[in-house]
Amino acid sequence: MRTVTFHIKRYDPARDEKGSSRVQAFEIPYETSLTVLEGLFYIQEELDGSLAFRYCCRASICGSCAMYINGRYRLACQTNVLHLHTDEVHIEPLPHMPLVKDLVCDMDDFFAKYAYIEPWLIRHSQEPAKEILQSPADRHKLNMPVDCILCGACYSSCPSVWSEDNYLGPAALLKAYRFEVDSRDEAKKERLPKWDNERGAYRCHTITNCIEACPKELNPTEGIQWLKMAAVRRRLFGRAK
């Protein structure tokens, strides 16, 4: 039986001072395959029931278990220790985020910013009796942004977020982009003030950490640059979309 050692950054508000943390090591046996999430459950069930982490689908679609594993942003469920090519696994919560406990960070700001950009389809027309027609080419424009799982990895990785609390960050702006490029959306300039401002697209300095961090291999930077160009078209040239 092989073993792997998880070095987990821990914080418990009941015993640790705010801002401080400890690293605790756990040895985990495995046979042929072990995901980081499976290892965390082994610890929680067998070694230390107090360990806290988020989980849900264990199939890389719910976005719960984004963490910082051996120096990279990853989903714990999608990360097999075999692919890390080492027996030492260092696990931290998403960096630059306030903590709730252990690997659980506070996502309130993240979701408040998501809600701020009005992340829903805006329509004014009388709805048709059936579907709103959309060409496959128009639907293709949504392919990248609709795959976002709101895991927060990009947000945690963005130096512009680190330095400016109010910056909406890559995930919220990618969501704004998702609706702006949807042929069914009729917001025209309505949503514009939400992202065309000092909190919005211009705070992106194309550092592209978000692209590297995204476990779904999406490209928030591309969406944000599209927003910058769209803002110019609408503000300077008066276009509705």
Binding site: D12, P13, A14, S33, T35, Q44, E45, E46, G49, S50, L51, A52, F53, R54, Y55, C56, C57, R58, A59, S60, I61, C62, G63, S64, Q78, N80, V100, K101, D102, V104, D106, M107, F111, A115, E118, P119, W120, L121, R123, E127, P128, A129, K130, E131, I132, L133, Q134, S135, P136, R139, L142, V146, D147, I149, L150, F179, D182, R184, D185
Partner: protein, 568 residues
């Protein structure tokens, strides 16, 4: 103590749809969910949802009646025909509504919603967004809930119902972020917590799909219906049991055994790989049991290679990602190793067609409920449909039922009492501490027992052994100890508190399966291989008693579709 007119427990598709409906009608609505609603297990659904839109060139004469027939036939005639007809009638409208709210469905060239073939369906009527339909629907409804201003209590773990004077008046929940148990009172409660897949040791379901809502209802006296009908999905990924969508076969994928043979020709010569799930899962299991797995092992292959890279990348990109990340297999290059695993709970909280239960003020929708439209075997593409059809109907029912005003009486005292009862229960668990029974050992034995004794094929003597094990586990539940008390995000607390409900539901599965001396849909008995419409065209209703489930039966609501032999 927070009070809302409507509390919805669970933020998946059914819960969100109920909340959005009631909120639009002016109710004060709150969702309580142990995860952010966008993380709910609905998002893991892949292949699509059924509606007779007749968009596909091969489906120009499709109708809701034909969809209803396929649903009832697929259910092995255990579905209530009036509810199946209602669901298929509502289907096109709720799907167009999801489109109007922004759901990114895939499209045909003419701009209409794309549809693909699915198992057990007479027409290609499964509407889809690539192979991430659940994710797209879920985010669309999360967005609509934000737009409507539905209040969300996120990472709040509901543990029990508040019942006062014969009426449900809210729930007790553990606040994962702030700690402690709290009462959330309401004029009405909609339960929408999803399936109970995790009572099985081999499930495609999310780790949080523990059946908690059905267990709470059962413990509060609402019967659990048809729990013995557990769907095994034919194609779970070999090592992790992650779902490999039915869309793989809908798009033309093959099932191949160790002899390189498309063995479905033996079992369903017409439908082949697109036979309903119960038949396909039994066929694969038979191949494996008779030594024709790949290399004699306990799996067969799902082969997509002939579809070509372009089609796989366009229609099944999520499947490819999962196979690569979790199995190290690129379906463009290699076949995917799969086997049948637990996937869906056909049974659940006994409700009528509008989500009402026998407990006033308490409603249920989605996988935790049993309406029943799936009967003994659910068709692929009907579960996502069920969530939005019956979530919406439950929302409408709550609005109608509260039109006369709030129920009489102040629920605060009952709420405080229910919180005190929960705190006392936890104190007892903590008092036994590490000296008590280990909840994780009980959980491990339970999920192995359901898997091994109540699987694809069932038999009297095997089930009796399994039932004895489950009964012993139930007794051990009263001796459980909890090592970690209090605090925030206490997984030990949550996973211990939810365990007894999981064992209760396992017992419902076991007792119901043992008693039902026939084979119907997913319930396949080697000792009673035939369907018995004389005796068993009835729903099982399991009532909670201190001695275990007490079973009663209710006739199936029949209708225009005469029960006949199922051939595909």
């Amino acid at each position: 103590m927070p009070h809302h007119q409507l509390i919805v427990v669970g933020g998946g598709l059914a819960g969100l749809r109920a909340a959005v409906e009631a909120k639009a009608a002016g109710l004060d609505v709150a969702i309580l969910s142990q995860v952010h609603p966008g993380r709910s297990h609905s998002g893991a659904a892949q292949g699509g949802l059924n509606a007779a839109l007749a968009n596909h060139p091969d489906a120009h004469d499709d109708t809701p009646e034909k969809h209803a027939f396929d649903t009832v036939k697929g259910s092995d005639y255990l579905a209530d025909q009036d509810t199946a007809i209602q669901m298929t009638k509502d289907a096109p409208g709720v799907i167009f509504e999801m489109d109007h709210w922004g759901c990114p469905f895939s499209r045909f060239d003419d701009g209409r919603i794309a549809q693909r073939p699915f198992g057990g369906a007479g027409y290609p009527r499964t509407c889809y967004g690539a192979d991430k339909t659940g994710h797209y629907l879920l985010h669309t409804l999360v967005e609509r809930a934000y737009e409507r201003g539905v209040k969300m209590y996120i990472e709040v773990f509901v543990t029990s119902l508040i019942v006062d004077d014969g009426r449900c008046r809210g729930v007790v929940a553990y606040d994962m972020i702030k700690g402690g148990f709290h009462a959330f009172t309401a004029d009405a409660v909609v339960m929408a917590t999803g399936g109970a897949g995790r009572i099985y040791g081999n499930s495609t379901n999310a780790i949080i799909s523990t059946g908690a809502g059905a267990a709470m209802a059962y413990q509060a006296g609402v019967p659990a219906e048809d729990m013995e009908f557990i769907q095994f999905h034919p194609t779970g990924l070999l090592t992790t049991h992650i779902l490999m969508s039915e869309a793989c076969r809908g798009e033309g994928g093959y099932l191949v055994n160790g002899e390189g043979e498309r063995f479905m020709a033996k079992y369903a010569p017409k439908a082949m790989e697109l036979a309903p799930r119960d038949i396909t899962a039994r066929s694969i299991t038979t191949e494996i049991n008779e030594g024709r797995g790949i290399g004699g092992a306990d799996y067969v292959n799902l082969d997509l290679r002939h579809l070509g890279a372009e089609k796989i990348m366009e229609r099944l990109p999520g499947i490819r990602d999962i196979a690569i990340h979790f199995q190290g297999v690129d379906p463009i290059e290699e076949p995917i190793p799969i086997k049948p695993v637990q996937h869906y709970t056909m049974g659940g909280i006994d409700t009528d067609v509008d989500g009402r239960t026998k407990l006033p003020g308490f409603y249920a929708a989605g996988e935790c409920a049993c309406v029943s439209v799936h009967g003994a075997n659910r068709l692929g593409g009907n579960s996502l449909l069920e969530t939005i059809v019956f979530g919406r109907r439950a929302g409408i029912a709550v609005v109608a039922d509260l039109e006369g005003g709030a129920p009489a009486g102040d629920p605060a005292a009952a709420g405080a009492g229910a919180v005190a009862a929960m705190e006392a229960r936890v104190a007892e668990l903590v008092s036994r501490g590490k000296a008590g029974a280990d909840p994780y050992a009980i959980r491990a034995e339970m999920i192995a027992t359901t898997r091994d004794y109540f699987g694809v094929f069932r038999e009297d003597s095997i089930m009796r052994t399994g039932l004895e094990i489950l009964r012993r586990l139930k007794e051990r539940c009263s001796q459980i100890g909890l090592g970690n008390a209090g605090g925030v995000f206490n997984l030990d607390l949550m996973r211990t508190v939810e365990l007894e409900g999981m064992v209760d539901l396992s017992l419902c599965v076991a007792e119901g399966a043992l008693a039902r001396t026939e084979s119907r849909g997913s319930h396949s008995r080697t000792d009673h291989p035939a369907r018995d419409d004389e005796k068993w065209l009835v729903h099982t209703l399991a009532h909670h008693t201190p001695e275990g489930p007490r079973l009663e039966y209710r006739p199936v609501t029949l209708g225009p579709f005469e029960p006949q032999e199922r051939k595909y």
